[in-house]
Amino acid sequence: MISAIVGEIGNNSFDHNIGSWVGVMGIFFGYEFVEKKLKIVLADAGKGVFNSLKKVKINLKNDKDALYVAFNEKISGRAPESRGNGLKFVKANIKNTGMHLTFFSGNAKADFNNFEEIVSIDKYYQGCIAIINFK
């Protein structure tokens, strides 16, 4: 299940930035065990969730709204292709397996495990950073 979740997040970076990378092409992937907990980090310097979605959902206002939509609505920045189920899968299975996901994009941060919190933050992250913690 960890591989499926990580695969979905990593694949998104490539699918939504192909041909339009803002920064360095590709993703950073790293993992380590800290006190018997597995920590996985994926990061890209792409266009970020808001810039991916605002072309297909023009009333999107900011990074926070974009993260909410990405994790909760069936929508994809690559419309009219029929897709957009990956982050819903990620969210559902983070919750079901007791993992914790922190996801940054632009000026927004989302936290998921058995709760969901999406907030605006002061720091700006170009692209996306996903941090998964698993006991």
Partner: protein, 95 residues
């Protein structure tokens, strides 16, 4: 007609890989198969499946063939993926 997914690998992740698998499936497995024929999709041996890959394969097979049976779906990522496809891609197969 049985489709053994393990012949496409045991870690089935990403849309590009799924699209390639489906195109190969169309050319070599599903070519000339009648739309009414039973298609058995066998998940035996799959270690990891993600919805991006499956959406390019399972959803498309299900759109074109109405008599589909899914077998050996016990793997947790397979179960979770099929659940996601039912909820977000309109997959209406009985699992």
């Amino acid at each position: 007609m049985k489709i053994e997914l393990k012949k496409f690998g045991d870690i089935l992740i990403s849309r590009p890989a799924g699209r390639e698998a489906y195109l190969a499936m169309l050319a070599y497995i599903l070519k000339d198969v009648d739309k009414s024929e039973e298609i058995e999709i066998d998940f035996e041996g799959i270690k990891v499946m993600a919805p991006s890959w499956a959406d390019e394969v399972i959803t498309k097979v299900a759109e074109n063939y109405k008599n589909i049976k899914l077998i050996n779906t016990e793997n947790s990522s397979v179960k979770a993926t099929l659940k996601t496809l039912k909820e977000f891609s309109g997959l209406s197969l009985v699992i």
